[in-house]
Amino acid sequence: MPLQIQPLEAFTQEELDTLTACYGEETPQGKFLKETHGVTHYQVEGVDNGPSAKGLVVLAHGIGTSYYAFEEFAQELVNAGYSVLSYDYYGHGYSKYSGDMFVDYDKDLFVDQLQDLLGFVEKETGEICVAMVGHSTGGIVCTAANERWGKGGDNLQRKVIPKLILAAPAFYAKKVSLNFVSSSC
């Protein structure tokens, strides 16, 4: 059962100091959720004055970045009447996988993370997710989520999200340089 926790329940003071120094801030901007595979740092915007007019949009970032990459974009969506859930993948931003940092970060792991988070946030806020926006690797994660949620059956956790916006999704990612590390795919 996902559970909201405080930063120092997720990190040692040293880890937290290193992370906040990395992002140039005194404390993390978002909240922390402990779920199946680790701790997820997330933020919900556009619900301060009650329910949003148009529903919740999830933002999934690219490799090597964090939800801070969507700062301006998220604000535009909020101004247009949407609420926005942005979060960091495990191993990115302030999110932390609970085991070895060199775990197999496959799409199923990230769909599990999103499923836990989205279920929690929808209950917490009363918002209903109407769309997902995925940049690059995020495009693969959002598509994988809708594929899982569209399968039906006894294990169905939720329904598909009606709209997907895939921003330069990494389906045709070019392998550059070392052939194994592509910026922000």
């Binding site: 880890e15 290193t18 120094a21 990395c22 148009k54 949009v57 490799i63 090597g64 990459a69 700062e71 974009f73 535009e76 969506l77 247009a80 495990y90 191993g91 990115h92 996988y97 070895d100 940092m101 060199f102 197999d104 970060y105 799409k107 109407v130 769309a131 926006v133 690059s136 690797t137 693969i140 598509t143 994988a144 594929e147 569209g150 039906g152 329904k159 598909v160 999200i161 009606p162 709209k163 997907l164 916006i165 895939l166 921003a167 330069a168 999704p169 389906f171 045709y172 070019k174 392998k175 550059v176 340089s177 070392l178 052939n179 194994f180 590390v181 592509s182 910026s183 922000s184 795919c185």
Partner: protein
């Protein structure tokens, strides 16, 4: 330890042969990174090297279109990878980047991901979702020019797929021109 680091650096720079090995046997690379923390600097170096083409460049002058966005991202990355004096590298990011590259973006997995989106596009009824693909015409990371014909086929074959091509935008569209991308996204979400 230093010699192991030098060996790793050498091995990884024997391109593209070792790169193909890394692609095929990601466990080897992961083991090296796990056992030799100093070798993890390679991941940051490579990520930043790849970032050189992630921002759109003018086809004629080869100048970066959104210089401020690129500088901002480079500055952030330099801090995250510990390249700024007095800062420590992000404690988990090297593992996150390597893990995603080996287990999501690995060359042999991409075709399966493309099948996945086609499966999503074929769904009907309550399981149907609408898909908008936003693509910068200057994208070299997910190359627009090379792959446009195939994506255009999806556009022609699926009534729930739309392609929105953005002029003078590269791969890092949210650092390049967030407002422009937001307008496209909001119009789509609003059903305009």
């Amino acid at each position: 330890m230093q010699s192991l680091y030098r060996l790793t650096r050498f091995v990884v720079h024997v391109k593209p042969f070792m790169a193909r090995v890394a692609d095929k046997i990601p466990g080897i690379l992961t083991s090296i990174m796990r056992k030799v923390p100093s070798a993890r600097v390679i991941i940051g170096d490579s990520y930043m090297e790849a970032g050189e083409i992630a921002f759109g460049r003018d086809p004629i002058t080869k100048e970066t279109v959104y210089v401020v966005g690129k500088e901002k991202k480079t500055q952030i990355d330099n801090v995250l990878f510990g390249n700024v004096k007095g800062t420590k590298a992000h404690p988990y990011l090297a593992g996150g980047i390597l893990g995603i590259n080996c287990h999501i973006l690995r060359g042999d997995l991409l075709e399966g991901h493309r099948d996945m989106i086609q499966n999503v596009l074929k769904k009907d009824g309550a399981e149907k979702s609408e898909v908008l693909w936003i693509w910068g015409e200057l994208d070299e990371t997910v190359p627009y020019v090379d792959n446009l014909p195939e994506v255009k086929k999806w556009d022609a074959e699926s009534d729930n797929f739309q392609l929105a091509v953005q002029e003078r935008i590269g791969h890092e569209m949210f650092y390049e021109n967030s407002q422009k991308i937001a307008r496209v996204a909001i119009d789509y979400l609003d059903g305009a």
